[in-house]
Amino acid sequence: MRLSELPRGVEAIIERVEDARHPDPVARRLRELGFVPDEAVRIVATAPMGGDPIAVRIGFTRFALRREEAARVIVRTDLSRPDPQARPHP
């Protein structure tokens, strides 16, 4: 599932960050900020009036991002094993 669809307060593990276009500076910056595979992430708050943007916690850092940006981050909520649906198709 995508980070933008994750319910608030549920811990998830990052699978990967997808590029929405080529090149995608937002995706690149997300990776630099630590949105990398196997990191734990959780939505800690959603904004008033419709819940966009969201605030997420990753490690000790918190970021505010719009859902459009968060949609680039693919996560799984099953913390024990990789989510087969989230794997890229061969």
């Binding site: 937002v26 910056r29 997300l30 900020l33 904004a47 008033p48 605030a55 000790f60 918190r62 505010a64």
Partner: protein, 616 residues
């Protein structure tokens, strides 16, 4: 012969992520020996300072803009990238890079440190806020970390008096060799994880972070906006109520100086220039210093405490209605004091189009310079009547004027943003850890802002007031002439020439004349009206305003007063704002567009207001 003279200072640069406490460390090292300017050819702020180490080495230190990565996404980050790489034109490469990292957030900050290492330049890692990391139960093995990085590591505490001792000792030691870069395409995140696993041990498990508990309220969809509203309300209360005694004091002081100078000099052009031109002109602007300082103190406290980005988060849905992001909130908030610092604060907006639109609408935020005009006109024309028992009619009109500015800004932004459709508006912003603001950093930040403001008063505004004084004083009226002297002057003639343009708005020639000095600074219009209606001599501005309040209703209709109020909501005539727009955008076109659209809005709104008011 070619030896480097021993007096040449070692040039170091502080570089690190935003929120790593770099500026606190810079302030700790340099104290007040700082110089703030711009990088050549860029609108990015350049902060430089000097200090001497305990062993007497002279150090010249550059505080580089915070960056998350050397792959820059904003002009600020581009400057940092180029200076670290030694490719910035006109800036020599620093002799030593001091990488500053927040010890409590190494997961994020260490990646950038590794990126710096890839540059292969001599560097030192300053692990800042080491005290907070220890309190959080983190034990960091500094020698091992240094071995991993191939660069010395020192612990610092930017907010404590001796917090830079180890860094100073390192600067006294012989310079470290440059680290060997890792092979290109190394996964820096993987290295960070490995280093953290090897060098950081937890002495006790982390208890629920303070951020989690505070954010539950601060970012709450209902309580968050309530807290924000209360904070903003108290802030405006402080700006407009607490500043008043100080402002009255400065006002009286400038009046007294004017009087003393007036007594010393013989009657004539020189006395008039000094008293009516320079002292009265500069004085009326300096009067706003307390307001601006209180506003900036608030903004600094909110910024240093980590609240401001959270306010931007809460306001992002509203800002996105206007096609902007929450990032535009901070510059727009500053613009309520004065559009000049507000426009300067747009530098933090990464998206160039968002930044341009924010600059365009910043003058629509009601700056404090418009307040004297509002106060005068509302006091003179709006009855002091209770509305619904609790509200005051005068207060409602004032609120309406502020609201009109904000709504117009949202509308203008929406229209201006249309051109950039298809482009994604990015927010992606760190919500930093909460921190107790440090008094020294607040004081230094405040002095810096006061200095910028006073320099503006000293240069642009004084020279313009002198010019306008000359326009309103020459030629002098012939002997035996009746009526105010300004009527005979160039300004008076210009006022009469302007009349056909402004008559449809209900303005008389006196208002037209007062609009001319209002170009320099909007609040000067009050003094100018006093001059035109020939009441009072120099000084005693407060009496002038009070007398004007009694006099104006006899000369103007209510429709004219309302029309002038509407005009001032847009008031395109502020030279300082236009000058700073020119400096920040390096484009006369943007200046022309801003002045043009503000003039058009002011004209149309004043016209509509006047015509509507005439119907009642």
């Amino acid at each position: 012969m070619n030896m480097i003279p021993p007096t040449r200072a070692l040039r170091i640069a502080l570089v690190g992520n935003p929120n790593c406490g770099k500026t606190a460390l810079f302030n700790l090292l340099t104290g007040s020996r700082q110089k703030v300017a711009n990088y050549a050819g860029a609108t990015v702020e350049r902060k430089e300072g000097r200090f001497t180490t305990p062993q007497g080495h002279a150090i010249q230190v550059l505080d580089l803009p915070g960056a998350y990565s050397l792959v820059a996404t904003s002009p600020d980050e581009a400057v940092t990238r180029d200076i670290c790489a030694g490719t910035y034109r006109g800036e020599a490469a620093p002799d030593l890079l001091v990488c500053v990292a927040d010890a409590t957030n190494l997961r994020l900050h260490l990646r950038f440190v590794l990126e710096m290492r890839q540059l292969g330049r001599p560097m030192v890692l300053a692990l800042n806020m080491i005290d907070a990391a220890r309190r959080k139960g983190m034990d960091i093995d500094l020698p091992r970390l240094a071995a991993e990085l191939g660069a010395p590591v020192v612990a610092t505490v930017g907010i404590r008096r001796n917090g830079a001792r180890d860094l100073l000792a390192q600067l006294d030691a012989p310079p470290p060799p440059a680290p060997t870069p890792l092979p290109p395409d190394t996964d820096l995140h993987a290295i960070v994880r490995r280093i953290l696993g090897e060098c950081v041990t937890r002495t006790h498990p982390v208890s629920g972070a303070i951020e989690d508990r505070l954010d539950r309220w601060v970012l709450h969809p209902v309580w968050g906006p309530v807290i924000l509203t209360v904070l903003l309300f108290v802030m405006f209360q402080a700006v407009f109520a607490w500043a008043q005694p100080l402002m009255d004091g400065i006002d009286a002081g400038m009046g007294w100086i004017g009087e003393q100078v007036g007594h010393l000099l013989p009657d004539g052009a020189l006395r008039s220039l000094l008293v009516n031109g320079i002292i009265a002109g500069a004085g009326s602007v300096v009067t706003f210093l307390p307001q601006i300082l209180i506003l900036f103190l608030w903004i600094l406290v909110l910024e240093e405490s980590g609240y401001l980005p959270r306010a931007a988060f809460l306001l992002d849905p509203i800002m996105s209605l206007a096609g902007l992001s929450g990032r535009s909130f901070i510059p727009l908030l500053s613009s309520f004091a004065c559009a000049v610092p507000g426009i300067m604060a747009t530098r933090t907006i990464q998206n160039p189009r968002d930044r341009l639109v924010t600059i365009l609408i910043a003058p629509l935020m009601t700056c404090s310079a418009r307040l004297p005009v509002y106060t005068l006109l509302i006091g003179a024309f709006v009855p002091q009547r209770a509305v619904w028992g609790v509200l005051n009619m005068q207060g409602l009109v004032l609120f309406g004027l502020y609201a009109a500015g904000i709504l117009s800004a949202l509308l203008v932004a929406r229209i201006a943003r249309r051109g950039g459709r298809g482009q994604e508006a990015a927010l992606l912003m760190e919500l930093p850890a909460y921190r107790l603001p440090n008094p020294r950093d607040l004081l230094l930040g405040l002095t810096e802002r006061a200095r910028i403001f006073l320099r503006r008063v000293g240069t642009t505004i004084v020279s313009l007031t002198v010019l306008l004084w000359a326009l309103s004083s020459f030629p002098a009226p012939p002997a035996g002439a009746t009526g105010p002297a300004i009527d005979w002057s160039l300004a008076g003639r210009i006022g009469h020439l302007m009349l056909p343009i402004f008559a449809p708005l209900g303005f008389n020639w006196q208002i037209c004349v007062a609009l001319i000095p209002g170009l320099a600074a909007r609040e000067v219009a009050v003094g100018a009206l006093a001059t035109v209606y020939a009441i009072g001599d120099a000084g005693a501005d407060t009496d002038q305003a009070a007398m004007l309040g009694h006099l104006l209703p006899a000369h103007w209709s209510v429709a004219t007063a309302l029309s002038l109020l509407a005009w001032y909501v847009y008031a395109p005539q502020c030279v300082a704002t236009l000058a700073v727009i020119r400096r920040e955008t390096a484009s006369w076109r943007v200046v022309a567009i801003t002045a043009g659209y503000l003039f058009a809005l002011a004209y149309v709104t004043a016209l509509l207001t006047y015509r509507l008011a005439l119907l009642f």
